[in-house]
């Protein structure tokens, strides 16, 4: 019974990991670039939302901040990322890692090194009891928002012509090009979507944790673990992996608290050992 409570709580946390990991996975799948700056956009999402909350209130700020970050995403794709799609992968790693450090330092210069505080709307504070289960009201709301976003992304990828081109672009970029479709505008849209989702994660998680310059570096590792476990190019792989990581962490903390943070890496290790391509990873020609 107590365990079930941890499992459900783990699912909620997994939903939050998902917001960050899904964008990372999409950008990698389409562009072939591991975006180490993804966490920086998550941090910017949080910082923008804290600043905007002073003028707009919590809700509007949580919407406006990801839009701002998505716009920054256009610049990021157009002027930086685009040059590295066909380059040596180490170069894109270096440039995105560098960008992550530059952003962290910029945040320090603009907002200061001390952590900022973001309060959740009072109406969402506190707990709800369902039977004997305890839930944070805020986190349940967060889970609902994640579910809606997830559904939107799934529809976009599977039920629209946009999604068809993106999925084709993941598998056979040459064929898409041969059909006369330029992938670049699609890539811009994917990057906007990806970093925008990371910013949603930052804005929504700001009231739960603290907003500090290095928060991006903290999240990128977990997001990367989720992507590796889920497998590249698989929408559902990332979804399942995020939820799994959340649950495994919660259950481990229940039984062996000291091993809580290590558990997700052990999970990644096991998955890589038995399924090197990830849980639902597809065979992608360009990466073979």
């Amino acid at each position: 019974m107590f365990l079930l409570e941890q499992v459900v709580n783990g699912l909620v946390l997994g939903g939050y990991y998902l917001l960050i990991a899904l964008g990372l996975s999409l950008i990698f799948s389409v562009g072939g670039v591991v975006n180490l700056a993804h966490g920086a956009f998550y941090a910017l999402g949080a910082y923008f939302s804290v600043t905007l909350t002073q003028y707009l209130g919590f809700g509007p700020a949580a919407v406006a901040s990801p839009i701002l970050v998505a716009l920054l995403g256009i610049l990021f794709e157009r002027f930086i990322l685009r040059r590295f799609y066909t380059a040596d992968p180490i170069l894109s790693l270096l440039v995105t890692f560098g960008l992550a450090m530059v952003t962290e330092q910029l945040i320090r210069i603009i907002w200061g090194a001390s952590p900022l505080s973001q309060n959740m709307p009072p109406s969402l504070k506190g707990a709800i009891f369902l039977g004997d289960f305890l839930f944070s009201r805020y986190r349940l709301t967060l889970l609902g928002i994640v579910a809606v976003i997830l559904l939107g992304i799934w529809l976009l990828l599977n039920k629209t012509s946009f999604g068809r081109v993106v999925r084709a672009g993941i598998q056979r970029p040459d064929m898409v090009a041969a059909l006369g479709i330029r992938l670049q505008p699609y890539m811009t849209a994917i990057v906007m979507l990806g970093v925008g989702m990371a910013a949603v994660g930052g804005a929504l998680f700001a009231p739960i944790t603290i907003v500090h310059p290095a928060m991006g570096a903290e999240i990128i590792t977990v997001a990367f673990v989720v992507v590796v476990i889920g497998g590249l190019g698989s929408f559902w792989g990332v979804v399942i992996a995020a939820l799994l990581v959340g649950v495994v962490r919660g259950v481990t903390i229940h039984f062996a608290p000291a091993a809580g943070e290590a558990s997700i890496y052990i999970l990644m290790f096991l998955v890589l050992l038995f399924r090197p391509r990830g849980l639902l990873g597809e065979r992608i020609e360009k990466f073979e």
Binding site: E5, A113, L116, A127, P207, I210, A214, H254
Partner: protein
């Protein structure tokens, strides 16, 4: 697409990792007539926010001293860097002494990094004024005669809060659920806390070790709820405490929460309305001591925000160091050690003067418990903490809140 061989990739990656681990060396001026001081403090990671305040306080003291003519007529020249982690801290400390020509080392907040710098100081026979790390072990079984400790140790923090809990009937017969930071300092604090519980009739229902990079406390909170303790107690450190406090308010658990360590920057970050309970502090900017008020006013003028306890402690530490050099007319390690070991009294902007205890080199000083002001009472976002009465009482010697010789394994080799 160009194919790069595996070796190139590995080499680049390794070089890359190496650079990021060591960090960028700072540019050191070549002048020799200045007194060089090497300063290390965490600027990144879970203690990074505290380190930023530490640098501000240190800088204020440095500029005041230099403007007033320096030390023995020589200007102070402080190199301050991010200590990053225990291994890097030791490497940088060694470099500061060996290559940069630092005469003394100062700083640190992380107990594990402080421990490695202490070893470097002892090996090089140079003085290390260990300012901000609070683990008992540093001035206990790991102590050495080249290191002096300024901040209050774990035992003092436990005493400051524990005495307030005893007074409020929150100790005897109560069941505590504790959360402990899983590194040197946390374990040490837990030891001191458990000793206090045992001596005063409290019991420990459960204890969870929490890694320092944990940001989500929800699984721990669910476990605490199932344990049904009387009081939840935090032995955490740095921004861990902030995260715990915010999420504790988010889940709305009914048990009162207290803690044996909380730095004011981390309390401020929690925001008004999230923090509750009784916590310890070494100093707070609302202190009524006139010298303290003057320091606070100058700090606000420079930085547009009030000083945190690490800004204060770095400020008074550099002033103590300057006083020692001025009075001994020397930067010689042995002369400085002798000066501090005389138990010279220092004004540290508190009600009572402080001194370094000769046999363990701990600065003996007042400490305070603090609680949270009632809603609507705070003048600004830094004002929601209510500073309690200093401990020990004015009629008791300052020593009584520190570990006595019988409970402290410190022996100088």
């Amino acid at each position: 697409m160009t194919i790069y061989n595996r070796r190139t990739v590995l080499k680049t990656g390794a070089a890359f990792a190496g650079v990021s681990a060591i960090g960028m060396p700072s540019i050191v001026s070549g002048q020799t007539d200045k007194i060089k001081i090497g300063h290390l403090t965490p600027l990144t990671g879970f203690l990074g926010a505290l380190g930023a305040y530490a640098q501000l306080g240190l800088k204020q003291a440095e500029e005041e001293i230099n403007k007033a003519g320096g030390v023995m007529g020589r200007q102070l020249d402080i190199t301050s860097e991010d200590s990053v982690n225990p291994a890097t801290a030791a490497t940088k400390a060694q470099r500061m002494l060996e290559q940069d020509g630092a005469t003394v080392l100062m700083g640190e907040i992380n107990s594990a990094s402080a421990a490695t710098i202490m070893q470097v100081a002892a090996r090089n026979k140079k003085l290390f004024m260990q300012i901000g790390a609070r683990s008992d072990a540093l001035r206990g079984k790991n102590c050495n005669r080249y290191t002096f400790h300024v901040d209050i140790p774990s035992t003092v923090m436990v005493n400051a809060v524990g005495k307030a809990l005893v007074r409020d009937n929150m100790m005897k017969g109560k069941k505590f659920y504790t959360l402990t930071a899983d590194y040197l300092f946390g374990h040490d604090l837990r030891g001191a806390a458990n000793a206090f519980f045992a001596a005063n009739g409290g019991t420990v229902l459960g204890d969870e070790l929490v890694a320092t990079d944990v940001t989500d406390f929800s699984p721990y909170l669910l476990k605490i709820r199932q344990g049904k303790p009387d009081i939840v107690c935090s032995n955490l450190a740095g921004n861990q405490v902030t995260n715990l406090i915010k999420q504790y308010a988010e889940f709305g658990l009914p048990f009162p929460i207290v803690g044996f360590n909380l730095n004011t920057a981390d309390a401020w970050a929690a925001g008004e309305g999230n923090l509750s309970g009784t916590w310890p502090t070494v100093w707070y900017h609302t202190s009524e001591v006139p010298a303290s008020k003057a320091f606070v006013a100058e700090f606000i003028k420079r930085n547009g925000k009030p000083p945190e306890n690490h800004a204060w402690i770095e400020y008074v530490s550099l002033k103590m160091m300057a006083q020692a050099m001025n009075e001994t007319k020397s930067t010689d390690t042995e002369k400085l050690i002798a000066y501090f070991e005389k138990e010279t009294q220092f004004d540290i902007l508190k009600g009572r003067k402080a001194y370094f205890r000769a046999w363990d080199h701990q600065l003996i000083q007042e400490a305070y418990p603090f609680t949270v002001r009632a809603k609507g009472q705070a003048k600004d976002k830094w004002d929601f903490l209510e500073l309690g009465t200093a401990i020990p009482n004015a009629n008791e010697p300052l020593e009584v809140i520190n570990p006595p010789k019988s409970a402290n394994a410190c022996v100088f080799a």
